[in-house]
């Protein structure tokens, strides 16, 4: 559930940027013979609709319909009373609240063209009763999968997306900078980071902790009965800002020899620079590269536990995390990175550097 600031900043996500994305999508639709493009959103699979319209549901679900000409519209399962809020945070021509979003979307599309060809992004993973509703409402509609079309469109990030990712990374960095080297409890450390990120306008923040790196480097959420902190611990901030998600991971190491963390950060940066080639991560105990291809904001693309790796697109924003061992210390570090376009090296957008 989203509990942070959801707003459309025209300065950071100008109307012209969203208009250009819509125009690119409509050009691709025309080339593919699609009359309408349909994209699903809920508070987990937000990225496709937010990329096109800026809309992020805090709760519930919706379908975005993009016709071949004209602006996008939203059919949402949220109540009519939040229509005005939706219009204020999104670049859409029309908002239609309906508890049966599939059927309503099918009806709206069929109203314009009874035998329209409809491309559904991620048709296979679309909620079954939404897909059924879409098909039944417009029995003349020809429904096809448009995932590949959208993924190609989405490809590399535009300048606005890169700037939003950098801002999200900066929020994460400032949040993790609030964590003292020796916090009284994990709870106080998490609270400090959480408050900072939300006060800086994060749409959402998830904090995860590996409480004692000497024992276990896996990052978990902290609930009741938190474990005691070890001499070294890691904390990861996953931050959403204006629809763009990144992760930043910091290790706090008590009594570490000078320069160990800087050395590890340099090693991470070097590994990142070779991406999408993964040779730089070969010596890492574990590593992960996540990015957005379609609707999942942070999809695992490559990594030590990813069975079916996918190369991130040139010019795309990814989040990288690695466990690096230096002088016997396991260090978990990560940050958002930008893959170079046209053969240029990738680089960290926000390195996990802190004044310790």
């Amino acid at each position: 559930m989203r509990r942070g600031l959801i707003s459309w900043s025209r300065a950071e996500l100008p109307d012209a940027v969203l208009a250009a994305r819509v125009a690119r999508a409509q050009a691709a639709m025309a080339a593919a013979g699609l009359d309408a493009l349909v994209l699903y959103t809920n508070n987990t699979r937000t990225a496709a609709v937010s990329w096109l319209t800026g809309f992020v549901p805090y709760w519930s679900e919706g379908l975005c319909i993009l016709p071949r000409t004209g602006g996008p519209m939203l059919v949402v399962a949220l109540s009519n009373r939040v229509r005005r809020w939706i219009e204020s945070v999104s670049r859409v021509e029309r908002v239609v609240p309906s508890p049966r979003i599939g059927a309503e979307a099918g009806r709206v599309i069929a109203e314009t063209k009874i035998n329209a060809t409809v491309g559904v992004v991620e048709l296979e993973s679309l909620r079954a009763d939404v897909a059924d509703g879409l098909r039944k409402a417009g029995s003349g509609l020809k429904v096809t999968d448009a995932t590949a079309l959208f993924e190609k469109l989405r490809g590399g990030a535009d300048a606005a997306e890169i700037a939003l990712a950098a801002k999200a990374g900066t929020i994460a960095q400032r949040a993790l900078a609030c964590v003292p080297p020796k916090p009284d409890t994990i709870g106080t450390a998490i609270a400090a980071a959480e408050a900072q990120a939300r006060a800086l306008g994060a749409e959402e923040i998830y904090l995860a902790v590996a409480a004692d790196l000497a024992r276990d480097q896996r990052l978990v959420r902290i609930e009741q009965n938190p474990p005691a902190l070890g001499r070294s611990f890691a904390m990861r901030a996953t931050v959403a800002y204006k629809g763009v998600w990144v992760r930043l991971t910091r290790t706090v190491l008590e009594g570490a020899p000078n320069g160990v963390l800087a050395q590890a950060t340099d090693q991470l940066a070097a590994a990142v620079s070779a991406l999408p080639d993964d040779r730089g991560f070969k010596d890492c105990a574990s590593w992960l590269v996540e990015g957005c291809r379609v609707a999942q904001p942070l999809e695992p693309l490559m990594g030590s536990k990813v069975a079916e790796p996918l190369r991130p697109a040139a010019g795309s924003v990814v989040s990288v995390q690695a466990t690096i061992r230096i002088d016997g210390h396991p260090l978990v570090l990560g940050g958002p990175a930008l893959l170079g376009a046209a053969g240029a090296p990738a680089s960290l957008l926000v390195p996990p550097l802190f004044e310790d």
Partner: protein, 365 residues
């Protein structure tokens, strides 16, 4: 252990319904069915748990962060990080052969899965799991009680944070930090501020609080995955006569709703008790879906569980059901107001879980 009790109960229900294997879908919005079976609180991506009557639990996830967390948090399940949940579960079902399979909530399953031969054989067992989700075990009620106490404390933080000039999202930041520090991994929270122009609540905006504002919130922290809600309204400064007069209707409606909660009555009876108070004061238009969504709802592993408290919902209340009773709606004189308490149905009536006074609070302007 509560998770084990739930799993045993699910398996027993599967036995009675002659289901060999159950497929349970979840994401961060609707994660209760998945959590009931696997005890995993899904946060990113989506996932499916497959539970059999005689083997372990298989958990298929498409988020690497969630999969890593699941390895630690749900040691009893086999965790599978997969690119395509549909394909992975479909393959599992194919291997399951002729076993009787079912799914919940079936309508949430990925379309691609329901189109496969094995997917088409999945019976809809949503009602079977709904019964378990609604009729809670004593341990579940105890956890909801803890979450309700945290909701009370969270509202105190909210009140302290509500000052003129502060932006809505800054208030929420204070509350969220408090909840994280106190072991609540998640919270459903929306907010409204202003006057007659405010028709509901939404995520926090950049709007600054101003003297005279009504500030409303639904605050719903979770403990161990279980949510409990509180709804309250405060005024920045002194409440005026119209605000006080309006609020008295909400208080009377909440009291009437809570008085109606007991075993054997329906959700509709509770809604009617609340709405009759509004109708008595000539405010009947404001209990329709033009101005309000529900008059309360279930609570548990989902913040907005069944049953919904509406005049057309005939679900019977039974001991162990946890509900929020909230006659929240728009008032034509003053704007949107909320007031709601979490309750649990007992053998003779209900236990109110919220301890915060049912007042229209005033904070310094």
């Amino acid at each position: 252990m509560l998770a084990e009790e739930r799993l045993n109960r699910l398996r027993s229900a599967m036995g009675k319904a002659q289901i060999d294997a159950m497929v349970l879908y979840g994401n961060a919005w609707q994660g209760d069915y998945l959590r009931y079976a696997s005890d995993f609180g899904i946060l990113e991506g989506h996932g499916i748990a497959v539970v059999t009557r005689d083997d372990g639990v298989q958990l298929f996830l498409d988020s690497a962060a969630d999969a890593e967390r699941a390895e630690v948090e749900t040691p009893g399940a086999d965790i599978h990080l997969v690119r395509d949940v549909t394909r992975a579960v479909s393959a599992w079902l194919d291997r399951a052969g002729n076993r009787t399979t079912a799914a919940a909530p079936r309508g949430f399953l990925p379309h691609g899965l329901t189109e496969t031969d094995s997917g088409k054989r999945l019976a809809d067992a949503t009602a079977v799991v709904d019964e378990l989700l609604m009729h809670k075990l004593p341990g579940e009620v105890a956890t909801i009680r803890s979450a309700a106490r945290l909701a009370d404390e969270g509202y105190e933080v909210f009140k302290a944070a509500a000052r003129p000039g502060r932006r809505q999202y800054e208030l929420v930041a204070d509350v969220e930090a408090f909840l994280r520090a106190n072991g609540s991994a998640d919270n459903f929270m929306i907010i409204g501020s202003g006057g007659q122009d405010v028709y509901g609540m939404a995520p926090p905006s950049q709007r600054r609080l101003a003297p005279g504002d009504l500030v409303t919130t639904e605050l719903t922290p979770s403990i161990g995955g279980y949510y409990a809600q509180i709804c309250r309204t405060l005024v920045i400064g002194e409440a005026n006569a119209a605000q006080k007069r309006a609020f008295s209707v909400y208080r009377e409606a909440l009291e009437a709703g809570i008085a109606a909660v007991r075993p054997g009555v329906t959700a509709a009876d509770v809604a009617r008790a609340e709405n009759d108070v509004f109708r008595k004061y000539g405010l009947g238009d404001y209990v329709t879906n033009k101005y309000t969504r529900v008059r309360g709802h279930g609570m548990g592993l989902f913040a907005d569980s069944k049953p919904h408290i509406l005049e057309d919902v005939d679900t019977k209340l039974v001991p162990g059901m946890a509900l929020i009773v909230h006659p929240n709606t728009y008032h034509p004189e003053v704007g949107y107001m909320v007031l709601g308490d979490a309750v649990v149905v007992t053998d003779t009536g209900c236990e109110v879980l919220c301890g915060t006074p049912r007042d229209l609070f005033e904070v310094p302007a």
